[in-house]
Symmetry: C2
């Protein structure tokens, strides 16, 4: 059965069992599911049902319940737990890996999170507090400090024995090898252990200087390393090269998805932490500032139009074609902006080749301006019966699409130089440029025409 | 040294060695690099230098050269090879895994790719041709057919022996277990082999019914499975459950990145295969159709304005505030659209909860409309000295932001129902709705006012 159909069936059963209050049966059903499936089922339940089903699961199998919380992500997980007592949360989060526990506790209300850390066992809260000391979105914050490491003095046989007695560690496919002071010196793989005799010293089969991430490295950079070297995990080290954690590829996938969402959202003027089911009031508060900024820029465009009010009043047909100038410039600029921002994010666009990108975008702008301007001129001529209006429209379009290429390339590159996220050069800012340039050129040219010829309409 | 700085140093050395023609030194330098680093270095070289450096690398180490081609991706790799003879390409692609070879050959000019397939050894070209029979963007197309599998009748000791003699297979962390007709029956891990005695039958330590992908499954769905179950690889099966390939997590990361780029691009009206350095002529051809569609929709908005030309001619201040109505509606609609499209892509928005999303977006639209409309009204009043214009603007804004929420939610959901990619509901289509609704309400209300009161300006 396709996974999605199975999940839908489970969801229906959960709803039914909750309705008839069949707690024991519900526990049996939940108990048998994969945490990723449970996360999806919980996500689709109404809030009251979600809390009820989660309580049943916690009673039955608290480990599985907390794995589900991990899958729900820090925000969703914190929301699910926030109704419980600090004692209970402190007990439950100890079932989670420290990185997930840290992210979750960080998302609880301040008072509750302090109480939870207070109540946790000293070792566990120490681990979590250590993670919380690293800045958000760094390697240190997202790593799992329980990393399995072997001593460089071991033989392969000793390493296999150590492996057999290890439990509860993430990712034992790469075996990191450390010296006496726990400095990372090499890496080998489980498979290589199997290919040599047990007496072989580990040193002989290890690769030196494995690719690693420093604790303060930005998570986006970590993701780029893991993706470009096709790693399954990356060791995290402190300045002295001391091994302190590991980031596995599944966490990297989450980072890649989040960063892609962030770029997409910023380009559209949406906060990166908004989701489809963020409550309406919160979405309103988050989107409002962008719209207010946009209102300000729209008034700038309006002011430019205002300069030419006499021209418009003597030639009203101009007002009809204004939306075309603005719309085309905005769309062409968005195209350029999107390609440039994504090129920066994927690491394809660098300082060295940025002039090449600018030249290309200007050529595209001129080319599109000539073609689109000509088409628009012909249509406007037919619609309005006045060839002069068409000529003005074509010239304005050419200027506007050139400005679109220029602003769409230079603004994100400039923001990058200022170390600001280029995606913040959202459509909001770019379209101000094209609106202003478009209206100024369209109405300015029209004013010159009106001055030298009598307009037709 | 941070990886990026090392790569920059290598790049500088490569350029210098090419300039002075020190081929032997260049070969030594390239030889020592990781293919992912070489791909980045090659990407940053001018085309002539890239081809020259690649020739040196092919001579020195053709395996490494082709690993670099794999890292460059199918399109970039094909461009690098296209200047060579079919004989040479046929020989070189046999150094690549079949999935990468298939993607590369598919990107060569038609005649060349046919000649290459003709010239390849029967076994290799057979594998590649098999892959090319699956539709693009399916599991079958991106899988590696060289999958390591163990027979269900083996013992753990026999499995370890089989592993020791295997070579050149991808990902031996998951060990898939098949029956006599190669049907997938279970999975175990290398680590579990180490925890039991060699006489243990494999059957006793395998997990039944591992999560698998069908050959025809869309690659986006495959990526979702791998990501939500935190897998390192997924086995690919035919209808009968016969094991035919494997997709590893590094390929899944590429899919996730490509799909994110695709969504971002489609929302902006850019072809999903465009990159920063796509030649200007090609970019022009690819973006033009979107702009022409947008020109058509812009003329629709212009036609709506045309209906009210008499109102505008008697009250020119209206023309000044038109850009505000259009701009705000477009931006609010883009916000909604982006959240909805991303929610669909991440699997958070489903049929079951779409009404909830619509209600939320309408509430946000009304809320934003009231606040933004009020602010805009006050500013317009101050700017223009006429409170009536402010009131009309506020009412039009409310209508427009309501329409933005409605269209931004329903259009992508409708496209999804029609099995069209919701991201194609790009800003182009959505802004037509908001432009038409905005101009119609703004100018329509103004017409009613003009009929009952004398306007001021």
């Amino acid at each position: 059965m396709p996974p999605q159909r199975r999940i839908d069936l489970v969801l229906d059963s959960v709803k039914r069992l909750l309705r008839i209050g069949a707690t024991a049966n519900l526990g049996n059903l939940l108990q048998k599911q994969h945490p990723a499936d449970l996360a999806q089922v919980f996500g689709d339940l109404a809030e009251r049902d979600r809390v009820a089903a989660f309580s049943v699961l916690v009673e039955r199998n608290s480990r599985l319940a907390m794995e589900t919380v991990s899958e729900l992500g820090a925000e969703g997980g914190a929301a699910l737990l926030a109704g419980r007592s600090a004692e209970e949360i402190a007990r439950l989060v100890q079932e989670m890996p420290p990185d997930d526990a840290a992210a979750l506790i960080d998302n609880l209300p301040d008072e509750l999170s302090a109480a939870v850390l207070e109540l946790m066992g000293r070792k566990e809260s120490g681990e979590v507090e250590n993670l919380l000391e690293y800045a958000v979105q760094t390697a240190g914050r997202i790593m799992n400090p329980n990393v399995f490491a072997l001593s460089e003095d071991m033989t392969v046989g000793e390493a296999i024995t150590a492996l057999q007695s290890s439990r509860d560690v993430e990712m034992v496919f790469y075996l990191y090898i450390v010296d006496a002071r726990r400095h990372l010196v090499g890496v080998t793989s489980l498979r290589r252990l199997l290919l040599v005799s047990p007496e072989t010293p580990l040193k002989r089969i290890m690769t030196l200087e494995p690719i690693s991430a420093r604790v303060e490295m930005d998570q986006e950079e970590v993701a780029r390393l893991v993706a470009s070297y096709n790693l399954l995990a990356i060791p995290v080290v402190e300045e002295s090269n001391k091994l302190v954690g590991i980031i596995t590829v599944d966490d990297v996938i989450d980072v890649i998805k989040d960063e892609a969402t962030e770029d997409l959202y910023r380009l559209a003027g949406v906060s990166s932490d908004e989701r489809v089911f963020t409550p309406a009031g919160e979405s309103l508060r988050k989107r409002m500032p962008w719209l207010i900024v946009n209102l300000g820029t729209a008034f700038m465009a309006a002011a430019v139009v205002g300069i030419f009010r006499n021209t418009i009043s003597s030639w009203v047909a101009l007002a009809i074609f204004m939306p075309i100038v603005a719309g085309m410039g905005g769309n062409a600029a968005t195209q350029t902006l999107t390609v440039i921002v994504r090129g920066i994010a994927l690491g394809e666009l660098t300082w060295g080749n940025s002039r090449k990108a600018l030249v290309k975008e200007l050529l595209v702008g001129i080319g599109n301006g000539l073609v689109i301007g000509t088409i628009a001129a012909l249509v406007a001529w037919v619609m309005n019966g006045d060839p002069r209006l068409g000529i003005i429209l074509a010239l304005a379009m050419l200027v506007n699409l050139f400005v679109a290429g220029l602003a769409g390339t230079l603004i994100p590159l400039g923001l990058k130089a200022l170390k600001i996220d280029p995606a913040l050069a959202s459509a909001v800012f770019i379209t101000t440029f094209t609106d202003v340039a478009g209206f100024a050129s369209f109405l300015g040219l029209a004013t010159l025409f009106v001055r030298y010829f009598r307009p037709a309409g």
